[in-house]
Symmetry: C2
Subunit: 439 residues, 2 copies
Amino acid sequence: MSETMSMSSVARLATRDADFDQRLDALLDWEGVSDRAVQQRVEDILHQVKQRGDAAVVEATNRFDRLSVSSMQELCLSQEQLETAYHALPADQREALADAAERIRRYHEHQKPSSWQYTEDDGTVLGQQVTPLDRAGIYVPGGKASYPSSVLMNAIPAHVAGVREIVMVVPTPDGILNDMVLAAAYLAGVDHVFTIGGAQAVAAMAYGTESVPRVDKIVGPGNIYVATAKRAVFGQVGIDMIAGPSEILVICDGQTHPDWIAMDLFSQAEHDEDAQAILVSWDEEHLNAVEEAIERLMPTLERHEIVRASMRKRGALIQCENQQEALALINRIAPEHLELSVSDPDAWLPEIRHAGAIFMGRYTAEALGDYCAGPNHVLPTSGTARFSSPLGVYDFQKRSSIIHCSADGASTLGEVASVLARGESLTAHARSAEYRLKR
Amino acid sequence: MSETMSMSSVARLATRDADFDQRLDALLDWEGVSDRAVQQRVEDILHQVKQRGDAAVVEATNRFDRLSVSSMQELCLSQEQLETAYHALPADQREALADAAERIRRYHEHQKPSSWQYTEDDGTVLGQQVTPLDRAGIYVPGGKASYPSSVLMNAIPAHVAGVREIVMVVPTPDGILNDMVLAAAYLAGVDHVFTIGGAQAVAAMAYGTESVPRVDKIVGPGNIYVATAKRAVFGQVGIDMIAGPSEILVICDGQTHPDWIAMDLFSQAEHDEDAQAILVSWDEEHLNAVEEAIERLMPTLERHEIVRASMRKRGALIQCENQQEALALINRIAPEHLELSVSDPDAWLPEIRHAGAIFMGRYTAEALGDYCAGPNHVLPTSGTARFSSPLGVYDFQKRSSIIHCSADGASTLGEVASVLARGESLTAHARSAEYRLKR
């Protein structure tokens, strides 16, 4: 065993180790902070696009994506191009994409909130009206990380929410278009596609240009330039979370086939070298078996170099003492993806306070959720499940409070408001309320 | 009339004017951008607090709030102090505060979402679990703008959401405590109060120090240092909107007493010189009457200097042609506060796409909503109602997706996931799904 350990591809930790807390903190530590140079470059691009619109977007795109277009017209895709891409797909891909889109749509329909009102005894009506955004902007990464499933996951909730117009940007470095991405945009009902990316695309959607309509919210992941630009325009437009690397936490009771668990960990690790895959079990033999499976299966993977780097840098097999410790680890880590590969996952659910998505039981591989189960695969990373939610219909809607006082209600409430307003020395507030008192 | 115009305290605009669009855009323009000097100072403070914890907070507090304390113990308030402050209030203030708290609590109870699940034909279960944040941090401005009503509006939704621990910070420049603020904290169930403010308070809550517990989300308004700090820590913790100056848009059909309308405008303008109060009507005589009321009532206001500055700088009386134009203006401005001082406000509601809070009918002065009607007074400003909502229970909760595949479901979904994963060249994803296929 000691020989296997020494050449191991993944760290072994145990909660009983004296240095466990420090080692876990070090493993989890991740900060996507952009340095001053990145900030400066992003600010420059934002400023240029704000001032000069399309011209600045074209310049930046030519430069960063190695293109040589002369106008934004060459960076727009028509609905016909999207439709053609869809119909040109091999039948199995087209059907799989349509199946996935339909399931995602069905799940997200359950998220639609309703407007509500109630009437008080004196006739005063209070409530909340829910309305969709006018226009949503979806950022889709280009190149190798350009995923059609992400187009579905970002655009369908916007569509279900009732957004009037969905704008999508996807950079095409060296001019390479991904047909599945265009097909997904067609399926998901995207209205406009621009083949631009980076901070220039974020700026175009945030401020609007001659060609790119200004949106109300920008969603979707991107590199450090995109993340920095989103943070900077936040307030001008809404943004979703700023995404970190993807992660999975698998809890196993030792009864799932070790190969399944190993492959579930790999499916996270293959995303990129910063991705994080962690297994927790109180069954030491199971951890040994999974470690053996990792060593054995790793060389068979197409993306074994990325997986090896990710597992070595950020992966871990953690032995805990019991279920209670496993639960504490879940809530401490607040994982993006949580796989409960245990016999009675329902019993665990009420104790789980923080997790982006919970994959329950031995059959629910994370990959099913990534593509087609229905729930969104855009999830809070790096512990942000402590305070944020999967992307959803609610991200594309907002609420307005409704207050309709009866004459009686205004009089009763006016007395209270008057006292409090005078207590805050806001006497125009008080007098405005006092005008409505019944004398 | 022309003489009145020339000495007028508020701009008159008409939608039929050739330069209307430019003038309105200029009026609405507001950008709370922090310059590089502010950014640098905030980054320094964040860095210091992250590295040195309490010591850095104490230093910054002594410096910026002109105190001379030697430890964080002197910057903590006990529950006893809060309770004492509550009982020491004059009876009318204590009762008004309790009334307001109760009404705010009742309204926000309606915002609580439920967890949900549904089972598909093959036994697969999909759903969403709603959970509260563990710990929320509330920033309450100090000095003159320290408002007890804001404590209620920020803390009660957190409490209703089920947040385990509510931390509040409120700076006390020159050591001056506001008893009504402490009383409100007692009423709203705040767990810890620290008398700190600025970027140092934001940093303390975002990173945690020896004394200040790390929170999961920071809400509440503040000055440019607070706003810049919140933007910087976003991602480490959740934040609410970055607030701009307060604004009101009043629509009047000409049938409300001009004095009422003038005072409603003043109640917004008295907040600060950047506050914005706009009246829109298609009744020119009414606009004239309100202008006259403004001139007549302005000198009677306690805060007339602030009101005069704000009305002159950012106020406007706008004449439009008809209701349809008024509606278009509402949706273009996306006001924080919208007062529909018209005979049938319900008829307007379905057409209103963007507004923070809608005050319906002649009796619903904005001041009633600011204090005690029930809905939140923390609202999206500067047109951000296009994409954001009043502060609410939903700001203190988050959701986890639930996916529980049956063996049959995993097999059906696995086929789809396999095709899509291979289309994205993510073969470990594909193989993880394929293990669960029924062969």
